[in-house]
């Protein structure tokens, strides 16, 4: 800048001007670099959050295993915090049973709805159904739990006996809640099957239904499996709806009308007043949940990769 104050020839002035331009450009590049760094930082937030979640939940949960063995924690059915028994066996089984129960009915209905929407229904109906499914996905879990508590639980109590708060009530409500996950992802993968496959199959004389069964569904299988695994992850992690309808006794259920307690229910019910080892044990339960869900996600990631490889081959 000091060059500008010096008097000089016009030639020199031109040089000055170009220097100023260069300097401006230099400053602009600096701003550009700064913005790029800022944006990079916001992307890095994702990595930071996952790291923090992992570190804090593990740091809070792992110390439990200096007091009790991993085997006792996972497989013992004794959960009695006041006496120092922290076995999540019953809760693990509760989660497993209610998840299986939900999938038992919602996977077949979800998949056939997805096929209906993608292949059979007229496009306008398929689209409207898609919007309804999105609405189903948008209803909060506490509303599902509430409706389950007011409608499904009394219905079970009056038709089948028992208290009504049960494994069955949980499986019904949870099944409804994972329907959108199963339907949306399988429908998208069914719609992504190239049209040539369909027309070739029809040209060869196969019926529409044969084409769906032997061509379209197999071609979309990695997406369909992904939808089921994601639905399972949602069921395992679901909390509020399950707490409200399953009765929450920490016992191994003897029938589908018996109450259960899931791992997630255990956390949300006891976290409010837990302290010391009890709190540590709840975080250790969270750790198990976290590992389960991340494990399922990694499986899905693999599946997605396998799916794209298939497409190329």
């Amino acid at each position: 800048m000091e060059l500008i104050t010096k008097p000089g020839l016009s030639n020199c002035e031109k040089k000055n001007r170009s220097l100023i331009v260069a300097e401006n450009r230099h400053r602009r590049v600096d701003v550009e670099k700064l913005i790029e760094k800022t944006l990079l930082l916001s992307a890095a937030v994702f990595v930071l959050i996952i790291a923090l979640i992992t570190i804090f939940i593990f740091a809070k949960g792992l110390p439990l295993f200096s007091k009790i063995g991993l085997g006792d924690f996972l497989f013992s059915n004794q959960w009695n915090p006041t006496k120092g028994f922290f076995g999540i066996g019953t809760m693990f089984i509760g989660t497993l049973l209610v998840t299986m129960g939900a999938m038992l009915w919602s996977v077949p209905i979800g998949l056939s709805s997805a096929i209906f929407m993608a292949e059979i229904a007229p496009p306008r109906i398929g689209k409207t159904l898609g919007q309804l499914v999105n609405l189903l996905a948008g209803i909060p879990s506490v509303v599902y739990g509430f409706v389950g508590l007011i409608v499904i639980v009394p219905f079970i109590r009056e038709s089948f006996g028992g208290n009504g708060m049960s494994l069955l009530a949980g499986a019904i409500i949870l099944g409804i809640m994972i329907l959108p996950t199963i339907i949306n992802i399988s429908r998208d993968s069914l719609l992504a099957v190239p049209n040539d496959y369909k027309s070739s199959s029809l040209a060869l004389g196969a019926t529409h239904f044969q084409t769906i069964r032997y061509v379209i569904v197999p071609a979309a299988r990695s997406g369909i499996i992904t939808s089921v695994v994601l639905g399972m992850g949602r069921a395992i992690g679901e909390t509020m709806a399950v707490v409200m309808v399953t009765g929450n006794s920490a016992m191994i259920p003897t029938s589908i009308l018996a109450p259960i307690r899931t791992m997630t229910s255990n956390i949300v019910l006891e976290m409010g007043y837990a302290s010391g080892d009890h709190q540590t044990a709840l975080f250790a339960t969270g750790m198990v949940l976290f590992l389960l869900i991340v494990g399922l996600n990694l499986i899905i990631n693999r599946l997605a990769k396998a799916g794209t490889d298939d497409g190329r081959g």
Binding site: E32, E36, L39, L41, S42, A43, V45, F46, V47, I49, I50, L52, I53, F56, I57, K60, S112, S113, F116, I120, Q131, L132, V133, N134, L135, L136, G138, I139, P140, V142, V143, Y144, G145, F146, L149, I150, L179, I183, T207, L230, G233, I236, G237, E238, T239, M240, V243, M244, T264, I267, V268, M271, G272, L282, F283, G286, L289, F290, L296, N297
Partner: protein, 275 residues
């Protein structure tokens, strides 16, 4: 094609039936909540504070708490989420290790159940950072939960930008940041708006994570450091503690109607996006 056999007709019938079941479930849940809830609803219910733990009075503080928490979550998550989307789409090479890691962690984050976010918010924000059960802890936890949605919808919007827009802007001498600010972000705005609307829906319905981070105190929050109870948490308390079924229906009505409005807006903005 030939005649459709009886067996095929039967199978088609089953497919139609499963579509009908979905509609039936949706209509009966929403219809039921609205039919029972509308009887409880009046201006007093919306605008008054609850009395006797919620068995009388209205739900005004829970509406305000929901609003504060949602706003705080958006203020935090929108800049970071959109920034991350711009970085991933405009700066990072899609083959880079970093982009791969960010995409993987974003996907993982989207799949984590809300109770885990609640545990994390509780141990990290409430206890470790000493924020206590507060709007601040709840809002930050909520921001983390909606971050993947904001980033994904912004990314999808940026991806639909025709490459010529970007090239023309750069060819006219605009810098990369100028191009992003004047061309890419305005173009991606409908996508960002969609992400925000979807996130509001999530925030309105969230319960498990907020019980552990914002608490369940029924008072009117006066500052960021006050605990708060959202409508969804209120609904849970009313129903589970058996405080008042009638009030629970009223609260569920407000939540469901909000979700219906949000869903309608999301569909509108998605339609604009695809146009």
């Amino acid at each position: 094609m030939g005649a459709v056999s009886i067996k095929d007709r039967f199978i088609y019938g089953l497919f139609y039936l499963s579509g009908l079941i979905i509609v039936g479930i949706l209509v009966s849940i929403i219809g039921y909540v609205i039919a029972r809830g509308v009887l409880v609803l009046n201006l007093e219910f919306i605008l008054e504070s609850p009395r006797h733990a919620g068995s009388a009075g209205g739900i005004f503080p829970t509406i305000i708490s929901t609003l504060y928490l949602t706003l705080l979550a958006l203020v935090i998550a929108v800049p970071i989420g959109v920034g991350a989307a711009v970085y991933l789409e405009e700066y990072a090479l899609s083959s880079s290790k970093f982009a791969w890691l960010v995409n993987l962690t974003a996907e993982t984050l989207a799949g984590i159940p809300s109770i885990i976010f609640g545990l994390f918010g509780f141990v990290f924000l409430v206890i470790f950072l000493g924020m206590g059960w507060s709007i601040l802890s709840g809002g930050i936890t909520l921001a983390i939960m909606i971050l993947p949605t904001i980033t994904r919808t912004a990314q999808e919007a940026i991806l639909t930008l025709p490459p010529e827009y970007r090239e023309n802007s750069l060819a006219l001498g605009a810098s990369k940041w100028q191009t992003i600010r004047k061309v890419i972000l305005p173009f991606a705005l409908p996508g960002i708006v969609t992400g925000v609307i979807l996130s509001i829906g999530r925030a309105v319905g969230e319960t498990a994570a907020l019980i552990l981070t914002a608490g369940s105190s029924l008072g009117m929050p006066q500052s960021l450091f006050d605990p708060a109870r959202t409508m969804s948490v209120h609904l849970y308390m009313l129903a589970m503690e058996g405080i008042s079924l009638e009030r629970a229906f009223g609260t569920a009505f407000v939540v469901v109607v909000l979700i219906l409005i949000i869903n309608y807006l999301a569909n509108l903005s998605l339609r604009r996006l695809s146009r």
